[in-house]
Subunit: 338 residues, 4 copies
């Protein structure tokens, strides 16, 4: 960490600062500039917060040199982490994971039909929301535990592992028992209590990026889960909020090479929430695979126009089957398979 | 709600759509344009979701005409709501509420000292975080229940009502019993389960704006709380996330007249998180009052350079006392008092 | 266009409005709602501005149904436009155009070396800036006309058509005479006088997206050029400005299917400015091709560490040659070639 | 400037770098860390570009310590610059400048009527656009030179100095001769050729912030003008582009204290473009004054519903007169006058 001090900082204050860093086990380099003096810290600075140091009125600037995360950091864990979701391996050079299903579970028949259709079309895991984060309290809020039980039956029938969103810590046992991949939604990416709870789970976690989370904050959210004991975290990009209005969100595909450079964890892409429009899902999905993504999570609904939630961004199964075929060709062109 | 259909939509589909809206109790106006046909819906459309209607492939566009919120809507509740926080009335033409205190409670002596100093300087309520949302799992996470108990003692000594952030539903009884104004933080603004929980409380709620929440989503978050039974919601703007790097966030003061036009609830401003720099807090605070805000929540710390959290944006008590004096002059210039 | 009037709008005002629209050649449908009345306009509404209508205090809302652009609109020009750049055809099902070269022309030897190397590596056009938009007046501003002449010599030697940025209308003859594809930079996307000028040129125009331009504003900028008489416009996405700090900009690849749905013009991608980091250019380039882009413009410099501008985002020629090979495989996987 | 090198950087490369900085007249401090080595540069680093240094593959990070601007920097020019606009002094502790008038000049009678009314209401300068930057080529583009001549006549009649936007360098003589304060619009803030041109003018310049310009880029745009010889620059904040949809832009009032801390130039606020809605202009104007702004530029139109441009955000003269009265009270509350 590099700390820039104002030129007129009193010597007593410089000494006090240096001493306080040394007390925290850091070695200190001090050098004088023309307009500023500089303190360089050597050692593990992950416990320091830039903003806390900035509180000192003599400090002009604080710059972290290393990363603020350790467990997720590829520097200390060079090999790829491969996450095992009920036997399906995600990450590294494994096959690209294809997760599909309706936005919300709407009933047993519907989810079983959807599960059969997405499996037939080429999906390897089934998604479906039982607890739904809806902007309006007057919108359909999901079937709750009934929805989870419907998902479990769909798994029994099709063999597809199931993915569902956990919104609240009081449902954690329900998810631990029933769900194969526990999703933390964008709105809860910095619900730190929930992150700590899933960090105690023995189940892999799909961590969606917050709507306006920087990549660094997102990695720090993964670090929360890992620091609580759960190393099986998969990143999921779902678009960020920008000024653009023609798409629901702006998909940021550059996260794929960035996360793979800085962390060792798998990255999957959600083109449904990113674009918000079924017409754009196929090209964006192919792009994600070409960029190096480890999987795709896509909303597929047998009858999008009747969906209780997010029909506008749902593909019909036949369209999804086409997408899978094209995705396979792109995957092979970049040395992967699906 | 205005629904635009593509010109070549089959008549059977038009009929099906009209019938489905009529079944939901809405009256339907249909008119034909050159390139598009238009369905106008008359009646309560708050249960409809624009995106769900967009799922129909014949729909080109959906435009809501009224607002998606009812309980928070000034149209149906023209008079100002005044929220009573342990005897202090906030909103309407009441005195401007001055909330101050450290970012985090760091111990009994510290919070009592801070409480005495902010009271002396002119604050009417005491803020202090016992549960802290920190980006890093390695940063100080707050004193927890000990911190709440310290706040309670500071209230006993100074008489100042206390404000603290609730991060998790499992602490709700602790807050119901001890805290006067329950804060929902920016990162939890769309933690809908938590919103429903505080909606069942008999305590006023300070609802911070999410980092990238639109004003409409923010009002809908208030609507969640109100729809669960708690009408005592106070909005708190704390800056939104933009591309600008010289401030921690970008304070959006236009929310004050907008919220006051569209809703009947009080609005207070948090210049500390908005700017992230104590040097800018005074001018921005005066601006907030001139814009019509009902209160200010400001971080004040007796020794910012020793703060365990967010010292960079904390004022010293003497500086806060000056701010209060100037704020009073601006308040009077716009016909309020503090 | 759909105009929502407040319920209590006086009849005289309604009549006045209807009459004013009819005078402009539009047909008017009027219908009454519970809380609002609605005016639907039938006919060509591109000359109307939503904001101008909103100026009427009785108007609650204005919603455009069709698009505000005509010449760029695929609805009125269903077949793809293919732009011919000195014999190289861009768009439709043509080969993917590979444009490469240094950010800035730094001298004759350097640009000739770069031209030979990018041609050898597989590029079909040469880029190079002679007039450079630099944030600081103290940074290298480009070689000016000397740079253009150096580019011309590089074209004579290699046969590669040349692409360069025009920053000011007073250089338009210089560009008309010498440059094959005239680039309008992101900072000038809404320099409307410059757009009108290049609209009078008989040369194709590469129109970069403004840093915070919506897709609609970008199409309207193309419409300016086309309305002045020049139909040969190529869109170039170069990333938009967001809160994210790990990349220079956020590349928005969803523009590819959106622009191809709404307009008939070619779209190319600039991964260099989008990411700002040579390490991420290859994966992002492959993604662009998988998404359906018609070309890539990439900064390649024989010695990036000595570049006078933007070396951080420049590839070395050998790395670019690898990229071209991989790009070709992805192109074939999606039914194109390069 | 602080440059962080990767730990395994070869000594030869370290030597080469140090030598290259020394050749540019900088002194170099080198220190070794655990994971990184650090080069500190002492001297004038404004000519260096962070991104150019980052091009070196051994460089992990570059951090500028001082500011990249000199002429605008308060550090080297501690006293406030006061800009004289045809006898009206703007900045420092001078009276707050009230600029008002229609968005666009629509004819001689209209602008003279507007000028008389805004003068009567309390304005000290007249604004009016003769050349209009419009998103659509089909919208009214302004009266051009006729509009400038109409403004001149309005000045003759009322004595109000006139402010108008220059969009293109070829009109610069027209503006030099006729206009008292030359406005550079948001879309041209980084039209560097235009900045250099107005830098050669002997007229004050009103420099609007670009729609997504950082404060630093904005100061650098002022530096362009100053480096070309014109020290009379006034900043004008007009809102930045964010995700929020209830306002046209998001007004960033924190720029007032920030610009006043870092530069010595005056700052005025444009609440009309910032909010885009006449209903919000008054509270936001009062806020601007409380924050310390040196002036307000507000759109006032005698008949907003008939305005050819931006009627939605125009105040009627009577409403503006009220605003001026309230603004004066707030100004006095913060120790200024108007």
């Amino acid at each position: 960490m590099i700390i820039t001090l104002k030129k007129r900082t009193p010597q007593s204050e410089v000494d006090r600062l240096i001493e306080s860093f040394e007390r925290q086990g850091l070695r200190v380099h001090f050098s004088e500039g023309e307009n500023f003096n500089v303190i360089g810290l050597v050692g593990d600075a992950t416990r320091l917060s830039e903003r806390d140091i900035l509180a000192n009125e003599w400090v002009a600037n604080v710059q972290r040199v290393g990363a603020p995360y350790k467990l997720a950091n590829r520097m200390f864990h060079p090999e790829d982490t491969i996450v095992d979701v009920a036997g399906i391996r995600i990450g590294g050079h494994e096959k690209i994971a294809m997760i599909a299903g309706p936005c919300a579970v709407e009933g047993l028949d519907e989810i079983v039909e959807a599960a059969k259709e997405v499996k037939e079309a080429g999906a390897g895991l089934l998604r479906g929301g039982a607890y739904k984060p809806r902007t309006s309290p007057y919108s359909f809020q999901g079937l709750g535990y009934e929805g989870i039980k419907d998902m479990v039956k769909a798994r029994e029938i099709t063999g597809l592992p199931i993915v569902s969103e956990l919104m609240s810590a009081d449902k954690i046992d329900e998810f631990a028992e029933n769900v194969d991949l526990v999703q933390i939604g964008a709105r809860n990416m910095q619900n730190f209590d929930l992150l700590k709870e899933v960090g105690r789970l023995n189940k892999p976690v799909l961590l969606k990026r917050g709507m306006s989370a920087t990549i660094e904050e997102w990695i720090m959210a993964a670090e929360y889960i890992m620091a609580s004991g759960n190393p099986n975290v998969i990143f999921c990009e779902r678009g960020i909020r920008t000024f653009e209005k023609y798409t629901r969100n702006t998909l940021d595909l550059s996260v794929v090479p960035i996360l793979k450079e800085r962390t060792h964890l798998p990255v999957i892409i959600d083109p449904s929430h990113a674009t918000g429009d079924w017409k754009y899902i196929e090209p964006v999905s192919l792009a994600a695979i070409a960029a190096g993504a480890d999987g795709l999570i896509i909303e597929v609904h047998p009858h999008p126009e009747c969906a209780l939630s997010d029909g506008a961004q749902s593909l019909k199964p036949a369209k999804y089957a086409e997408l899978v075929k094209k995705a396979r060709m792109v995957a092979r062109a970049v040395g992967r398979d699906l």
